[in-house]
Symmetry: C2
Subunit: 306 residues, 2 copies
Amino acid sequence: MNSIKIFSPATVANVSCGYDAMGFSMEALGDEMIFTKTKEKSVIISKIEGADLPFEANKNVVGVVAQHMLNDSKADFGLDIQIFKKFKPGSGLGSSAASASGTAFAINTLLNGKYSNLELTKFAMQGEVTACGSAIADNVAAAIYGGFILVRSYEPLDIIGIPTPSKLVATVIHPQIEIKTEAARKVVPQNIPVKTAISQWANVGGLVSGLYAEDFDLIGRSLVDLVAEPNRKKLIPYFDEVKEAAISNGALGAGISGSGPSIFALSKGKQTANKVAEAMNTVYKNSGIDYSIYVSNISKAGARII
Amino acid sequence: MNSIKIFSPATVANVSCGYDAMGFSMEALGDEMIFTKTKEKSVIISKIEGADLPFEANKNVVGVVAQHMLNDSKADFGLDIQIFKKFKPGSGLGSSAASASGTAFAINTLLNGKYSNLELTKFAMQGEVTACGSAIADNVAAAIYGGFILVRSYEPLDIIGIPTPSKLVATVIHPQIEIKTEAARKVVPQNIPVKTAISQWANVGGLVSGLYAEDFDLIGRSLVDLVAEPNRKKLIPYFDEVKEAAISNGALGAGISGSGPSIFALSKGKQTANKVAEAMNTVYKNSGIDYSIYVSNISKAGARII
């Protein structure tokens, strides 16, 4: 195989109660990339569409991950890479993670599957360091494993794939305002009451249980975030209104996607998810803020060849 | 039915990462009680064997729960109750919870199953108020539902039954020293770093996932408590030695049962669980402290007629 075209999904990290520990991947939203082997053992980014990102390989998430993998595998080839961003950076939907994970997946395919998903996650995390300064795993793991994932531990890295009910559908609104991940992190308190923490981990247990048991009511009851959401929602215009509109139109629950500004809702079935999308649209249409709304099944596959 | 004899299990609450939110029930250890209908509409405790507990109904967990249920159901009968305690109060194995849950289960049977498990848990929680001053749900819910349970929420009360792999076996050592629940609560900090909390809920997600998937390694990796254990273990002689001995003899993990002093370990299979019991015995045999060791499957049934 000399050339490969791949799709790498947008991802929703945190998922309310699962702050810094859970994530899931979108099936119908993600980036596309073309990787072509070259004789020259270098990484060249020859095309970037859809976003204003650096072409210099060592400054671009894609280039950084690619170079790490070519070095580690002692590959006898270089790469020409074309990037087609299909959703905007800074959305809270794992834009850099899609780039990093897609790169790891694509190069692994060109290397005939040399690496495990856990190893690919570690390579992709090096891209996250370039993008946001820290080696966050939740978005990249969701993009590589597909479906719902749990980052059980960082040291050692331990990623658990959680089964995802096929009827679970995500609706996401991306208000096109900028929230820096750094700023979103700062508003979350360093210390929390142990009682709050207990409620949060009880809900994580409920969410994981609901996903296994396909208990949609339980999934909904567990989508509660007492730690990040109460502080971060102030950074997102109309957060309460969007959440309320989603739930009153049938969503199981809703919350902030990653560090925002995107807001996700989960619903049972596409019909409800579309109704939720309409309700979100109604909240935002006269806001004067640009926004996009997406409805998507939750991808079971993660990054894939197209 | 005029008279009923029941078994109500000992229970392990918290289960490491699941502090104040999880619990499981023992199959081979628990109290027995006999409930006999009387014409006189009063609650009389006519026999207590195995523990020094009050006979006055309004001071005994059993009497308190019984009176609440007879009042609520407007029962046309009273009760004569005989209590046979098979394990000691103050063990951290849910002694009062076994009494309270067994009572709720037995009276519900005499009432032809009028109440749901959730309602029985609420009745039994009133016994916990009498026993320890607060309406804790984890032990009583485990004793009523059987197997592993999650207390997802207190308001409203939401109990989730988690499937339990049949090969999962508990080994418990009860060093017969006194630790007051109140004292054990005080050593747990009121506030914890959010990073610690994130690790804890990631492990709760891992434990629930491991139980559903029958992934014993994952269950073991998830049995980590960063919140209560580091503080409480100082109250339990040889805690570190017992835990280390359990794990080095094949246990998946180990931790404090409830607020202690009992220490539990979980193993895959009875053979390993017995080996773990021997290892615990080796640690304690020259300690000068009285102790009991139990090996038990995890009950799937909870309180039951015998």
